[in-house]
Structure formats: structure tokens, C-alpha cells
């Protein structure tokens, strides 16, 4: 065994490992299943009931989401006659794919990332994340259903109104860390203070944008079931529907990773400099993913507290309060950079 250096092997298959196993597809699948279960359990606890239980009663019904996934897999896929079939079939898949691809630009450790370390990872990941909702609009358009169509229109309105605050909040962190790179950003947080203390306004903006973009309450507007049945996914069934429903959770995962990298200090409290396969590669990643999971759990808890806003209220607050907040966060960053450092 001494002839084969383990770090070398890991370095060789690192990209594959990153995308497929951790924190890639398998982790996403497990985390989505857990977070959906957790969302239902949290809501059930607040609502004084049991929640999913009878699938795997001993572990509190944790396999319920897996059972749902199986059910979707074996359901008959119905494609409406008047739908644009190509778009109808491809759009949910592309939506899911782009949400997942954004992950390759999000490193979860100093020496562990999918591509060679780029200097512009923040910009690339943000750009890919912004593409995803466009496929949501295609989904709504392709089904030839009035409710889906209205859902797509709502998605478009919200997309535009919350894009700018999102970008500005990222920009304000770029200004503070003076880098376009997640790893350097985390390193500078490890040296000084976590981003949430440096710029709480940007963190708040980012949280609101996360809630909005992933359709959590109180911004569950595109899928408002009492108005639009299921919004975009009214006509969908089977695995298409399952993929479509899982996409917001993947986005939520991406956003939470970015949030924990930019604001929660990444792999803090670990400060790694050694190229150890366990300590240097996976442990920081584990810390980041756990932080992201906590952020996700907090966001899904909102379902138990809030009803949903109306479209015009959400758009209005997007163009007023949230935009103002993000502009203020940029100003705060500039002030800090000019005077504190």
C-alpha cells in the first residue's frame, strides 16, 4: 500500500467524487430526502400532530420521502395533447440539471473542488443559479394550461424583482473580501470575522432572496395552491413532477452552501493547511454541508409560521425594501473597506 499514495488517487478522481458522491448528486439526493421529511416533521410538530410516521415507524417515518420518490417513479407520465412536448419533457430536467451544475463552482474545502481552482468561482456560480428560473418559465409555458401560464408569469415577475438584490448582496461581499473566489473569501473570514458580522445587511438580503427564489413561505407565490392548483407543475405527473418538485430544494441547497461560504465562515472553526485526505478534503466539506443543512432547516421552518404574500406585494417589496437593503449593504461594505481596514 505504500506504493500508492492515497492523496494522489483522490486527486485523480477528485472531480468525479465531487460531482457524484460528495457534495454532488448522492449527497443532494440524501439531503433533499431528509429535508423534505424534516420540513414535514417540523410543520407537524408545530401543528401538534405526528407527521409522516407509518412508513418506517421506528425511525419516525424518515423513509417517507423515499417512498414518495418511488411512487413518482412508477406513476404513469401523462403528457397533455396540446402541450409543447419537447419543452414539456426537457424543461424540468434542464431545470434540475442547471441547478446541479452550479455546484461545480462552489468549493466545499480549500483543496477540494470539482474544477481546477478558478479565480472567478463566485461569479460563475451566481450566473448559473440565475439561469435556473428561466427553465421554470419554459415549464409553465409548455404545459398549455392557464394556471401554469399564470404561474410562469408570476415566476418571471419575481425573478426580475429579486435578481438585483441578490447580485448586490453578493457584490457587497466581493467588495469586502476583495476576491471573486470562494476559497479566498473563506480564508479572509478565517483571518478576521465571519461575513454575517461584517455585513449583516447583505446576509439578510441573501436570506430573503433565498426564500423567494426557492419558493419557501411566505413567498410561495408561483405554486399558490388555492389560486393556481400547483402553478407551474399543474399538468405534470410521474418523475417529471418529482424532478420539478425537487429542484427548489436543490436550489435551496446551492444557496445555503453559498450562504455558509460567504457569511458563516465556510469551514470555520477548522483551519486546514495540510493535504491530508481525510482532514484536508472531507472534513471541511462536512462542516460546510452541515452549516448549509442548518440554514435549510431554518428556512423550511418558515412554512409552519407564515401564509403567503400576494404577487404585487412581493414584487413591490422586492423593488423597494429589499433593493434598498441591498444597496445599503454595498454602501456598508465600501465604508468598512475604506475606514476599518
Amino acid at each position: 500500500m505504500n506504493f500508492i499514495p492515497i492523496p494522489l488517487i483522490i486527486w485523480l478522481i477528485e472531480d468525479l467524487l465531487y460531482l457524484i458522491i460528495f457534495p454532488g448528486l448522492v449527497t443532494i439526493l440524501v439531503l433533499v430526502i431528509i429535508i423534505i421529511w424534516l420540513e414535514r416533521k417540523i410543520a407537524a410538530k408545530v401543528q401538534m400532530r405526528f407527521g409522516p410516521l407509518w412508513v418506517s415507524k421506528k425511525i419516525g417515518g424518515a423513509l417517507q420521502s423515499l417512498a414518495d420518490l418511488l411512487r413518482y417513479s412508477f406513476q404513469e407520465a401523462i403528457i397533455p395533447e396540446k402541450a409543447d412536448k419537447l419543452a414539456f419533457i426537457l424543461a424540468p430536467g434542464l431545470m434540475f440539471a442547471f441547478a446541479t451544475i452550479a455546484l461545480i463552482f462552489i468549493p466545499v474545502g480549500p483543496y477540494y473542488s470539482a474544477l481546477f481552482p478558478s479565480y472567478y468561482t463566485i461569479l460563475f456560480s451566481v450566473a448559473l443559479i440565475i439561469i435556473t428560473p428561466i427553465f421554470a418559465i419554459i415549464v409553465g409555458w409548455a404545459s398549455d394550461n392557464k394556471f401554469s401560464f399564470i404561474g410562469a408569469l408570476r415566476e418571471g415577475f419575481l425573478l426580475i424583482s429579486y435578481e438585483v438584490p441578490f447580485l448586490l448582496s453578493v457584490v457587497s461581499m466581493i467588495v469586502i473580501f476583495r476576491t471573486y473566489n470562494y476559497i479566498s473569501a473563506v480564508q479572509s473570514q478565517l483571518n478576521f470575522l465571519p461575513g454575517i458580522i461584517l455585513n449583516p445587511l447583505a446576509a439578510l438580503t441573501m436570506l430573503i432572496v433565498m426564500i423567494r427564489t426557492t419558493g419557501r413561505f411566505p413567498f410561495d407565490i408561483t405554486e399558490a395552491d388555492s389560486e393556481l392548483v400547483l402553478g407551474l407543475f399543474t399538468e405534470y405527473s410521474a418523475l417529471f413532477f418529482g424532478v420539478g418538485m425537487a429542484t427548489p430544494y436543490v436550489e435551496l441547497y446551492n444557496f445555503s452552501l453559498i450562504f455558509s461560504l460567504l457569511f458563516l465562515g465556510g469551514w470555520w472553526p477548522l483551519n486546514v493547511n495540510v493535504m491530508n485526505p481525510l482532514y484536508g478534503l472531507f472534513l471541511p466539506g462536512l462542516v460546510v454541508v452541515i452549516k448549509a443543512f442548518i440554514v435549510m432547516a431554518i428556512l423550511v421552518f418558515l412554512r409552519a409560521v407564515y401564509p403567503r404574500y400576494r404577487l404585487d406585494q412581493a414584487v413591490r417589496s422586492g423593488w423597494s425594501y429589499v433593493l434598498l437593503l441591498s444597496v445599503l449593504s454595498v454602501i456598508l461594505s465600501i465604508v468598512e473597506v475604506k475606514f476599518l481596514r
Binding site: I42, K45, V46, M48, R49, F50, F301, A304, V305
Partner: protein
């Protein structure tokens, strides 16, 4: 009433709502019953499935007349020894005459459990039970013959834990093991 209407300012409102939700997340407060692992023992006046006392019944048809969904039919019977009745011969509809009588049979598919029949019986011949959660497998099962009707449906989930509900200041309803 205007002091009731006064809106709360958004910041306090959000904080209070989140705090209340978080409080409920942490407190033990479940009020649901883990049916069918636990089943309820219902109060004695609960209106469940019921049967008739063959000896007490006098075959007066009052229950048939009062039944709102017309679920009760009277079947012809022959009075046997000791007050018990025997089935009438095939095809015979005669209910008058010596040793002839009739008995009620309830179609469970129609019954609405209003207990008008139980209350209208001049000799109080109906025997109520608290069984209520029965699923019939076949269409025929809820149209019993008279002999089947004398044994009303049995309670499902016999191994379940029996509980009684109790008013609770914290959870509204709590369940404790039945005595």
C-alpha cells in the same frame, strides 16, 4: 372594537410569530391519536353499531317507521321455544297469525346512526355498542341477514392500546390508558 383591530407593526409581528412557532416546535404538545396503534374507548352513550334483543323485541315495526333513511326492514320470523325466533320458511312473507312475528334488520350501508329507532322502541329492545370504525369488505357485508345482524360488527384492531380522551389544559385533548 377598534382596539382589537389595531395592526401590529411588522417587526414585532414577525418576531412574535416566529417565536410562537419556535415555542411550539420545542414543547411537547401533540394532540392527535396514533390511530390505529391506539384506539379510543368511547363514552357509554356513544352511538355506534347496535343489535336487537331477540327475546325482548315484539315486532311492532315502530323502528321501521321512524327510520329516516329507511335502512330498517322487518323480516318474517317464527316464534320458537323460550321466546327465541326461528327463520320463516323460504318465500313466506306472512307475519300475522299464531307463532308468527317479524324482526328488524339494519342495512349498515344506509344507517346514519341517529338512534331514532333505539329511542322509539316501546320495549327498549335495541342493544347499543360503541363500535364505530368498521370497514366492510364486500357489498353484501353491510346488508346482513337477521342472524348476522344479531352479532353486530366487531371492533377492528383488537391488539391496539385502548385509551380514553381527556380534556387537557395544555394540549386540548390528551389520552390516557383506559381503565
Amino acid at each position: 372594537m377598534n382596539e382589537v383591530r389595531k395592526p401590529r407593526d411588522p417587526v414585532t409581528g414577525h418576531i412574535k410569530a416566529l417565536a410562537k412557532g419556535f415555542k411550539y416546535l420545542l414543547e411537547p404538545n401533540r394532540m392527535t391519536l396514533d390511530y390505529p396503534a391506539e384506539t379510543m374507548k368511547l363514552p357509554p352513550n356513544y352511538r355506534g353499531f347496535f343489535t336487537v334483543d331477540d327475546k325482548k323485541c315484539i315486532g311492532c315495526s315502530m323502528c321501521e317507521m321512524v327510520c329516516p333513511p329507511e335502512a330498517i326492514t322487518m323480516v318474517p320470523r317464527i316464534i320458537g321455544e323460550g321466546g327465541k325466533t326461528l327463520p320463516a320458511p323460504e318465500g313466506e312473507k306472512e307475519t300475522k297469525g299464531p307463532k308468527r312475528t317479524k324482526r328488524p334488520v339494519v342495512n349498515w350501508g344506509k344507517c346514519i346512526f341517529c338512534y331514532f329507532c333505539v329511542d322509539v322502541c316501546p320495549v327498549d329492545a335495541f342493544i347499543p355498542t360503541q363500535v364505530h370504525d368498521v370497514a366492510f369488505e364486500k357489498d353484501k357485508d353491510y346488508r346482513p341477514s337477521y342472524e348476522e345482524y344479531l352479532k353486530p360488527p366487531e371492533e377492528p384492531y383488537k391488539n391496539a392500546k385502548k385509551v380514553v380522551s381527556k380534556a387537557d389544559l395544555k394540549r386540548g385533548v390528551s389520552y390516557e390508558p383506559a381503565p
